[in-house]
Amino acid sequence: MINALVAVAMIICAIQAIRVKKLLTSALWLAGCSAMVALMLYLIGAPEIAVIELSVGAGLVTVLFVFAINIIGDEKPVLEPGIPPLVAWALIILSIGILAYLNLPLLSVVIPDLAEIPMASTTIWNDRMLDVILQVLLIFVGVLGVIGLISDSKAKEINQ
């Protein structure tokens, strides 16, 4: 029951995030959607990733969005879509249909009870070392991105 409620709240937040005209409101709805996803992850039985999703997805990303929208300013919304809505709907129905067909076996699956949950650190450090290296690399890229985000056009003026 509570799973269905959280799922509905999540979908409403996602729809609002793309429907709302103002960018700042949209970013806040996205944070709400992120919080609902974190709640759902906790309910499935993945508390570690739920905490990370809540702090990174609902916290850090929202702060970055608000910061960037503050710099950019709220642009006048463009009403006409990039591609015709009919084509977009056709593509979405096609892709979602394929995904739903692939997930048909889930109808008979029930979530098994876990006897014991292994330690998170063991799996991450021993079995998935490659992922950790990749994450370190990605974080360096992210630092470069933040530098690009907060740098103003001083470099341009010096060049001129």
């Binding site: 793309i18 996205l30 499935i44 570690e48 999703e53 970055l64 642009e75």
Partner: protein, 102 residues
Amino acid sequence: MTNIPIIIMLAVLCLVGIGFYALLTTRNLIKVIIALQILVKGGLLALVLAGRIQGQVMVGQSMALTAIVADTIVAVVGLALAVQVRKHHGTIDLKQLTKLKR
């Protein structure tokens, strides 16, 4: 008792559909990044659910951790791109940006 995996999978399909639709139709660069975030949240939920069904919770969780990190970096780099594009060209409308000539 209701079947929990099918509820979550329906939510995942809805999130992916919403994100994909917004990605196709929107023309604002910031909205495109928001759509990407919604899309990846669907994928994240699916990863953890798959790990839970298979009984390998930690493998699903560590993959989801990588997905979260990559997603955040994509958002950061995309926002930095949007800020710089706005500074240099004065717009973040994708259709006008594709028409730009050097």
